[in-house]
């Protein structure tokens, strides 16, 4: 996503006539224009809140808002209904300018039951709008959520604009002629909530109804129930005049182009497919299901018509093992997992490093250690990615800052892997993987080809083949794939003699090979972009980040600037090797702040590498940074 300065406030003339309002009469309620809006849908995990959030998001995307999302779901697939651990939520920020995060505090909260209210109310902005499904506020549910008295009856919600809707009742009424029955009736209530939200925030309705028709094409009664329920929610807003004002957020002035709304896992999968096309190498994805990386497997397994082979292995080790085999055999070989799975792959990754075979290792980080917080974002695998292998085994480590970057970073990782004949670690995290934002589509034809040349002929004297004879520029060894006549050779985990690749226990050779492998990776610094500095270049304070903190950092810097504090920011996509100018960038500012969702891992690297007194801002609560947390730290450092 482009990170331009925020545009001027929305112009009143901006057209909204494309907005569809079903067959509903126009509302007479006055409309207020907002430049941004944060809403959160919260309910039981069976209430379909992710779906409602995604529909609200897509409608906003197609309307032309900039946006960013933050889904949050329980680690348990089916936590007991009505309980706090069972609450699932979806937050989205939409704006008429280029926003950077899913927002700190919701302006509007939908609470489908008491547990959702209990868990989320503390985040709602004072004076914000609260929509509750009153039908679920019975004694049992109140009790499960830990309420002693019904918050709808006492004064605890006085500070908010509360819209009370008996959603169960009205949904039942709305779907009664559609043919759905039994448990399916109440399944549509998320669409009631969505309809009400569509009215309240002037969202176009067409994208939602169209989506429902397509999605449930084979079950027309379900499609109708959802649409009826959606309309009922919309009409409930009009007829009850649920609020005195409705709100609208005009389209954002994003750079011109064609956009789609994308999450990181899907974009990453598509990037791998594009890299396969650009390199001419068939894509092989060897993996084992794990949250939050599995969606990459799901997406790739649907794309067999792109020549993609997915291998759901018996375990994480076999996932990476099959990937090594596929790389040896001449594929674009990729494995993916999250922290615990990467730990299991560690031995094999060292083998791949020793074999000097090109492959990609994706780590979609989550809260750790161990099973940790499987559905929450954290950046705590940085040091593990840099150093978490036995022996001296430095690998290139790249990281993705936001969903819209995932596609190109996947291609970049492949470029480096095949050019330098090395495994590459590509870091994502739960926030990037599941969060979504508008992505300006690239022109696929303009993406550079990834040149790959398999060895064809012997490269040694007397027609011999020397598998560790290196390219003079890249130090890459030749990629000679089985089936090539005359290049039969053996590789393995034992130390190899330089050039010949034969097993060698010679002390000087081990030193040479260790140095060579390290040098090969370090040299990639000459082939990656310099680090760019954003904002006030001569500011005293530089905020340095990596990964999914990108949006929070940029937004915090904006806020600091608005309050008169000059700030520069820089974001690392390359964690190893580091950009060549990083030292220079760091030294041109008096103070360096490094916010991370870990206990200070990049901080350690920067301090060790540059002997610099950088300051950390660290958080491991399983949540992304709030913009205010970073902007307050910046103000404090500016004193």
């Amino acid at each position: 996503m482009a990170d331009e300065i925020a545009t001027e406030e929305a112009t009143e003339e901006a057209s909204t006539e494309t907005r569809q309002t079903l067959e509903i009469q126009p509302s007479s309620t006055p409309t207020e224009s907002l430049d941004n809006l944060v809403v959160r849908f919260a309910g039981d995990s069976g209430d379909g809140m992710q779906l409602a959030g995604n529909r609200f998001t897509d409608a906003s995307a197609l309307f032309g808002n900039d946006l960013a999302t933050l889904p949050s779901f329980p680690a348990e697939i089916r936590a007991p209904a009505g309980t706090l651990p069972g609450v699932s939520s979806f937050q989205v920020q939409i704006a008429d300018y280029d926003i950077l995060t899913a927002g700190d505090q919701p302006d509007c909260l939908v609470a489908m039951n008491p547990a959702a209210l209990m868990k989320n109310l503390k985040d709602l902005r004072p004076g914000g709008t609260l929509i509750v499904n009153t039908d679920t506020f019975d004694e049992r549910n109140l009790d499960k959520a830990g309420y002693e008295t019904n918050p709808l009856d006492d004064d605890s919600l006085d500070g908010y604009k509360v819209i009370k809707a008996p959603m169960d009742e009205l949904t039942k009424e709305a779907v009664k002629d559609t043919g759905v029955s039994g448990r399916n009736v109440l399944r549509s209530k998320n669409f009631f909530a969505l309809g009400l939200m569509a009215w309240l925030f002037h969202r176009p309705t067409e994208p939602t109804t169209e989506w429902v028709r397509k999605k449930f094409a084979s079950k027309p009664e379900v499609a109708n129930a959802n649409i009826e329920s959606f309309k009922a929610g919309y009409n409930f807003g009009i007829t009850t005049e649920a609020t005195r004002t409705t709100f609208e957020v005009k389209p954002a002035a994003l750079p011109p182009g064609t956009y789609t709304n994308i999450n990181g896992n899907t974009a990453l999968a598509w990037g791998l497919i594009a890299a396969s096309r650009k390199s001419g190498l068939p894509l092989f994805y060897g993996t084992y299901p794990i949250t939050p990386a599995s969606d990459i497997l799901h997406e790739l397994s649907r794309r067999k018509n792109f020549g993609v082979r997915t291998f759901q292995a018996e375990d994480e080790i076999a996932g990476v093992g099959s990937t090594i085999g596929a790389a040896f055999a001449g594929n674009l070989a990729v494995t993916g997992s999250s922290g615990p799975g990467i730990a299991l792959k560690s031995e094999a990754i060292s083998l791949a490093f020793m074999l000097e075979l090109p492959m990609i290792v994706i780590n979609v980080q989550r809260g750790g250690p161990s099973t940790g917080l499987p559905t929450k974002p954290e950046q705590s695998d940085l040091l593990f990615s840099l150093y978490g292998r036995h022996g001296e085994s430095p690998l290139p480590v790249l990281s993705i800052a936001s969903p819209s970057e995932a596609f190109m970073m996947a291609i970049e990782a492949v470029r480096i892997a095949v050019k330098y004949m090395t495994p590459v670690i590509l870091l994502s995290d739960n926030y990037v993987a599941n969060g979504s934002e508008p992505w300006k589509l690239p022109d696929v034809d303009e993406i550079a080809e990834i040149p790959v040349e398999f060895a064809k002929y012997p490269n040694g004297p007397d027609g011999t083949f020397l598998p560790y004879m290196r390219n003079i520029d890249t130090f890459a060894r030749p990629w000679a794939i089985p089936g090539t006549p005359g290049l039969e050779h053996r590789i393995g985990g034992l130390e190899k003699e330089a050039i010949s690749g034969n097993v060698s226990y010679d002390p000087a050779n081990h030193q040479l090979m260790t140095d060579t492998r390290a040098w090969k990776v370090a040299n990639i610094a000459n082939d990656i972009p310099l680090l760019e500095v954003d904002g006030d270049e001569d500011a005293d304070i530089l905020v340095l980040g990596w990964g999914s903190t990108f949006g929070s950092i940029r937004a915090a810097a904006r806020r600091a600037r608005q309050s008169g504090i000059p700030v520069a920011t820089a974001h690392l996509n390359y964690l190893n090797p580091l950009p060549k100018n990083l030292g220079e960038v760091l030294r041109s500012h008096d103070k360096v702040l490094i916010p991370e969702l870990n206990t200070g891992q990049l901080l350690k690297v920067i301090r060790a590498e540059f002997l610099l007194d950088a300051v950390g801002l660290n958080k491991v609560s399983g949540e992304p940074f709030r913009v205010t947390e970073i902007s307050e730290k910046i103000s404090e450092m500016a004193q």
Binding site: E8, A14, A61, L62, G64, D96, P207, K250, P251, A252, A253, P255, P256, T258, T260, N261, I262, W270, I273, R277, P282, F284, G286, R303, K304, N305, F306, V308, R309, F311, A313, E314, A318, G321, S322, G325, F328, A329, G330, A333, E347, A348, L351, F407, K440, L441, V444, G483, T484, P485, L487, E488, H489, R490, I491, G492, G493, L494, N502, V503
Partner: protein, 342 residues
């Protein structure tokens, strides 16, 4: 193109073979090289992948493509080769420690999936490379460096295990019998899918004569049970026979039964029960022990299936187009450059 003509030498490398003198691995290496030379198939189409252990040095001595990988993982690595390259002949060299202990999981899953791999498991019933600890096939009570009071681990029967893991081809042979080894290799090679071959391999340093009952001049006469397709299962110069009783394979005196009651070996039986019963005749090379092919049934291979799905998808949906793919979730246009003009 005419088939290349090779001798055993063409499959040898210039690397010094480093097994202990007298090790059964030498014999197996010679058998494999000789067998491959006789096939007349181009050398570059063979890939040998091993894990860790004495046997796993094997690829270094084969003038083909090869990889000496990490402990236990060879079947997984080889699966990545075989699934993507049906044009190659992919072999896994493993041992009882490598294949049944640390790598047991990969072995059973490669068999279940019927990945087109020829898996040669050199069973010497000991850890050789780490200098003599008991292995998952060592007999109970075995005294080794790590079991000075005798091993208390109940051993695997590799053939039973492979049959239980849905292997479509299961055989057993012994290092010293090069003709038998090559006969088994040939069947394994011709089999489409995963072929599991247990090879009794003598470790003369840490577990000498473990297989004496099927290799010793005297002993083998009484104990070696040769399974031959379509023939009655008899041994001990015809004196003993195998019959099925209540689902079990039982050894009887040939003279005590109607010849028609003697089990006729059929490796192509779809149901593996009889093959399994045969594998239970002995739980290790003690007493009457069958050698030969236990099971050989046709089943679609993993690489055939994965490639068929790919081709099917291409036929149904057309070759993928990345530009269309990235537009598949719906798009909108932003027209510039005026702010909020979208």
């Amino acid at each position: 193109m005419t088939a290349p003509s090779y001798t055993r030498k063409d499959f040898q490398t210039d690397q010094e073979v480093r097994w202990c003198p007298g090790c059964g691995d030498y014999t197996i290496l010679a058998s494999v090289q000789q067998f491959l030379a006789g096939l007349g198939r181009s050398r570059e189409e063979f890939v040998f992948i091993s894990g860790i252990g004495c046997s796993s040095r094997f690829p270094y001595y084969m003038n083909t493509y090869g990889m000496h990988s990490i402990h236990g993982r060879a079947p997984a690595i080889a699966s990545g080769v075989a699934a993507t390259r049906p044009d190659l002949s992919v072999w896994v060299i493993t041992g009882d420690g490598d294949g049944l202990s640390i790598g047991g999981n990969h072995l059973i899953h490669a068999l279940r999936r019927n990945v087109n791999l020829k898996i040669l498991l050199f069973n010497n019933q000991i850890y050789g490379l780490t200098k003599g600890q008991y292995s998952p096939t060592s007999e109970v009570g075995k005294s080794t460096k790590s079991s000075p009071f005798g091993s208390i681990d109940y051993p695997f029967n590799p053939v039973s295990l492979a049959l239980g893991a849905e292997a479509s081809f299961v055989a057993r042979t012994v290092d010293m019998d090069r003709n038998h080894t090559q006969m088994v290799l040939k069947s394994a090679y011709e089999h489409k899918g995963a072929a599991f071959v247990e090879i009794y391999q003598n470790c003369n340093v840490f577990n000498d004569k473990a297989f004496i009952q099927v290799t010793g001049k005297e002993e083998r006469v009484h104990n070696r049970v040769d399974l031959e397709q379509g023939k009655p299962v008899v041994f001990d110069e015809g004196a003993k026979a195998v019959v099925m009783r209540g689902g079990e394979a039982v050894v009887v005196d040939s003279s005590s039964v109607d010849p028609k009651a003697i089990l006729v070996h059929d490796e192509t039986r779809e149901n593996p029960s009889v093959a399994y019963a045969l594998s239970r005749l002995s739980h290790g090379p003690y007493g009457p022990t069958p050698l030969g092919i236990f099971r050989r049934v046709a089943r679609s291979t993993y690489d055939a299936e994965i490639n068929a799905q790919m081709e099917g998808a291409r036929n149904d949906m057309g070759d993928g187009d990345v530009s269309q793919l990235i537009r598949s979730h719906g798009t909108w246009e932003v027209k510039g450059p005026s702010p909020n003009g979208g």
